[in-house]
């Protein structure tokens, strides 16, 4: 298994606050990894640095063998991102949004690709609808469709199943696993849904106060902490030192 992402001593400080502290980890090709942590643990800051939206204070990010901190543009086209906290233009239709992003990512046959992702995310009937008219669950599906428009090798997701109904949540989960298997893609996602993490990911990274405090496979973590579910593991790790 080859590594596509490696961070070394990644640190981000905002004035006197250290949001991410000496974070080192790597991700293998074709893996699904969850980034866990309570509010303020540094998940969003970490994702922002891995997306190039935030410049690290120190440390290194190597993505596809390239120095991502120094020059991120050569690899940005090979990755993509979805978050319920970052919107797409509401006044554009679903189809227009997907077309714009297909062109931004240099998709050679954008219309064909849009049909593919629309089919995958059950959006065919919504392509002519303006985004602002959609429900929050439908918007999440559009955002996920956008994140797959360039068929990324590295996909970063922030709470991918937030505001989705249980049926769609299961379906998205299965879709992501299938996408990983077929494309050999690497997926890193931040989530608070421990059940989702257990079912979907190969590895979990637990952050607390900007530091990586635990990592391992869901089963490995359950065995190590002798707990029946990841939520209990998360609570135990998160409360360590507080009692």
């Amino acid at each position: 298994m080859n590594t596509i992402l490696e961070t070394h001593s990644l640190t981000k400080k905002f004035g006197t606050i250290t949001a991410v502290n000496d974070l080192s980890f790597s991700l293998c090709r074709s893996s699904i990894t969850a980034l866990l942590g309570g509010n303020g643990a540094g998940k969003t800051t970490t994702l922002s640095m891995l997306l190039g939206l935030l410049r690290p204070s120190s440390g290194e990010i190597s993505l596809f063998g390239k120095d991502f901190v120094k020059d991120r543009f050569p690899v940005l086209g090979r990755m993509n991102f979805s978050s319920p906290y970052v919107d797409l233009p509401q006044r554009l239709t679903v189809g227009e949004n997907l077309l714009v992003y297909a062109k931004l990512y240099g998709v050679v046959y954008p219309k064909e690709r849009i049909q593919q992702v629309a089919k995958s995310f059950r959006l065919e009937k919504l392509l002519d609808q303006r985004l602002r008219r959609l429900s929050s669950g439908q918007k999440t599906r559009v955002s996920l469709a956008k994140s797959l428009i360039n068929e990324p090798e590295f996909l970063l997701l922030d709470e991918p199943t937030a505001s989705l109904d249980p049926d769609t949540t299961v379906w998205i989960r299965e879709f992501l696993q299938e996408y990983r298997d077929q494309r050999g893609a690497t997926i890193l996602f931040a989530s608070h849904d421990m059940r989702e993490v257990e079912l979907l990911c190969d590895e979990a990274l637990l952050m607390k106060e900007g530091k990586l405090v635990e990592k391992g496979s869901p089963q490995g973590l359950l065995d190590k902490y002798q707990r029946s579910n990841l939520e209990e593991v998360f609570l135990q790790v998160n409360r360590k030192g507080m009692e």
Partner: protein, 269 residues
């Protein structure tokens, strides 16, 4: 099947242009509004010009008043169109999506400039055409110099927008009102309706650094005296090139600061 990708700056700039074009065509009232304000300006100032024509021929000769009003509006439209398109990204909280794509900041600037030009033309052409039957004034009679004046004012509008968008990136939507304020800050120094000699000495010194001053001086020379002052145009162009360079640097600097402080994900309503 894998999605075939072909990365090029031109396709990304075109993608961005498409995004703003979709936005524009999504609302007919928006398109009408773009043409509405310049047309209303032209009508009001047309009647003012007609009223003063008998008593102040030097003010209205050659349709100079209507022409300068239209040309001044070019700067305003160019600036507003650029900045509003950028604000759309902030209002819709879309900057995060844009900047995780391979889009370079300078490509964003160029995309904004392209749509600004289209919106400015949509605003100005109907007003300029309507001035012909309404007041018998055709700015098109200026010929090639008109394009030189127009081009220079568009460039000034873009330079101002680059500074404003830089401030918006750094300070967020709290600085939104700058969009509307900035063109009026340079208006008194631009000598739109009066010659440069009207200004007091200290204002003339400031006006000498403003590219629009030379455009309006040049227009008056052409419309009143029939003299085509290329030297004025060159001065205007030189200052525009300098301000565009500074504006671009300001935007890129603000972008770097935003990346340092994590402002790109937070930008929005």
């Amino acid at each position: 099947m894998s999605a075939k990708l072909k990365h090029s700056s031109s396709s990304r700039i075109f993608a961005l242009f498409t995004r703003y074009f979709f936005l524009l065509r999504s609302s007919w009232p928006r398109i009408i509004e773009i043409a509405y304000w310049p047309t209303m300006q032209m009508v009001v100032w047309g009647f003012v010009s007609k009223h003063f024509a008998p008593s102040s021929p030097e003010l209205t000769a050659g349709g100079v008043l209507i022409s300068v009003v239209l040309i001044w509006d070019t700067l305003f439209r160019s600036h507003i169109s650029y900045t509003l398109s950028f604000l759309e990204e902030m209002w819709s909280r879309n900057l995060g999506n844009l900047f995780v794509s391979p889009l370079r900041p300078w490509e964003l600037m160029l995309g904004l400039a392209c749509i600004s030009l289209i919106r400015t033309l949509i605003g100005m052409i109907p007003a300029a055409l309507l001035a012909i039957p309404f007041f018998g004034v055709s700015v098109f009679d200026m010929g090639l110099p008109l394009f030189a004046f127009f081009f220079n004012l568009v460039l000034t509008g873009w330079a101002m927008s680059q500074f404003v968008t830089a401030i918006l990136i750094r300070y967020g939507l709290g600085a939104e009102s700058l969009t509307w304020v900035l063109p009026f800050l340079i208006a008194p120094f631009s000598c739109i309706y009066y010659p440069l000699s009207t200004l007091p000495g200290w204002m003339q010194e400031i006006a000498a650094f403003i590219p629009t001053t030379y455009v309006f001086e040049g227009m008056r020379a052409l419309l009143i005296e029939g003299v085509w002052r290329q030297d004025l145009l060159l001065k205007s162009l030189s200052f525009n090139v300098i301000y565009l360079g500074l504006g671009m640097s300001a935007f890129l600097f603000a972008f770097r600061v935003a990346r340092k402080h994590g402002l790109l994900l937070q930008a929005g309503e």
